[in-house]
Amino acid sequence: MMDNWLLILGMLAITFATRYSLFAFPDLRFPPLVRQGLHYVPTAVLSAIVVPGMLLPDGEHWALRLDNAYLLAGLAAIAIAALTRNLLATIGGGFLCFFLLRWALGQLPL
């Protein structure tokens, strides 16, 4: 029987170590190449979360279908974001589309 508290403390140490890894070196100045690369971290990471979230909502199965509200409302949110460049409008509009679609498709637990 493994000690679960030992596991929790180990996970704490490892998780904190990854999150603090670069915050730990305030005097470190990145070389130009790294700095250039870091400019692409938000774009790359967020795209890599969003697009699979739209096309494989359960994380396993492709849902390239018209009854996939994640895909359709996600596309609507992308359009709203491109046109307005407004975060709140994107969230509000995207969420509204999402729930209207889910409601119309009978996918809400009502």
Binding site: M2, N4, L7, I8, L9, G10, M11, L12, I14, T15, F16, T18, R19, Y20, S21, L22, F23, F25, P26, L28, F30, L33, V34, Q36, G37, L38, H39, Y40, V41, P42, T43, A44, V45, L46, S47, A48, I49, V50, V51, P52, M54, L56, G59, E60, Y70, A73, G74, A77, I78, A81, N86, T90, I91, G94, F95, F98, R102, Q107, L108, P109
Partner: protein, 240 residues
């Protein structure tokens, strides 16, 4: 903005993320018992580890009877992406004293990263030279933390009697927020290419376990972005 304005704004900007995390926190709390965690251990894991993906993977590995070494190595792999966030935000927090950098790092989740990098990197530093942006970071991070603790508690206490929140698709709130953050960042070709390549690699590698697909996607996007940017610079130099 003043400190308290930054703090409140950070917490407010996290609201959609909080909504999206609610079902996951409750599900974590309700599943922890069957994976062999006591009530206090479930709460303790949320309080001390505070990493949704790693916590869920720990539950499934515990349930499958995995050993401590496997569990900790898996935690490391799943959390590698946080080192990327840490590097990305380091230039913005390096001026802060340790008593700030330590807690901010502890609270650095995917959600907090997205919202905070938007505040730091996407605002014109000349037009918005607020010296209090770390209070924004703190507000966003604390909101996510408190929300996660409350949801874990609800899951632990009420477990299966909580109505099926997952079926509402609240996780779309996170996707919509990420879309609202990333689309305005696509200002030039290297950024667009980075987004397209990262998306394609993430799709191709979706079956890889432990967020390895996300890491592969992130690095591919970064490399393509840098290569294109360098090529553009060379072309400009040759023309001048």
């Amino acid at each position: 903005m003043t400190r308290s304005q930054e703090f409140t704004q950070g917490a407010r900007d996290m609201l959609p993320m909080l909504l999206g995390a609610i079902p996951f926190g409750i599900i974590f709390g309700s599943l922890a018992g069957s994976a062999g965690l006591s009530t206090w251990q479930a709460l303790g894991m949320s309080l001390l580890v505070f990493a949704g993906s790693a916590q869920f993977i720990a539950l499934s590995l515990l349930g499958a009877g995995a050993g401590l070494t496997v569990l900790l190595l898996t935690t490391l792999v799943v959390n590698l992406r946080h080192a990327l966030y840490s590097a990305s935000l380091q230039p913005f927090v390096r001026h802060l004293p340790k008593r700030w950098r330590v807690p901010l790092a502890f609270w650095l989740t995917d959600e907090a990263y997205a919202v905070v990098v938007h505040r730091y990197a996407d605002s014109d530093p000349l037009a918005d030279a607020s010296p209090n942006k770390h209070w924004y970071f703190l507000g966003a991070a604390l909101a996510m933390y408190l929300n996660w603790q409350l949801c874990t508690l609800v899951g632990v206490l009420f477990g299966q009697s909580v109505p099926n929140l997952e079926a509402w698709g609240l996780d779309f709130a996170m996707l919509a927020t990420f879309i609202g953050i990333v689309v305005p960042m696509l200002r030039n070709r290297p950024q667009v290419a980075a987004a397209l390549v990262a998306s394609a690699v993430a799709l191709a590698c979706h079956a890889l376990p432990y967020k390895l697909g996300l890491m592969a996607a992130a690095f591919s996007g970064i490399v393509v972005g840098v290569l294109l940017e360098r090529r553009n610079e060379r072309l400009i130099e040759e023309h001048s």
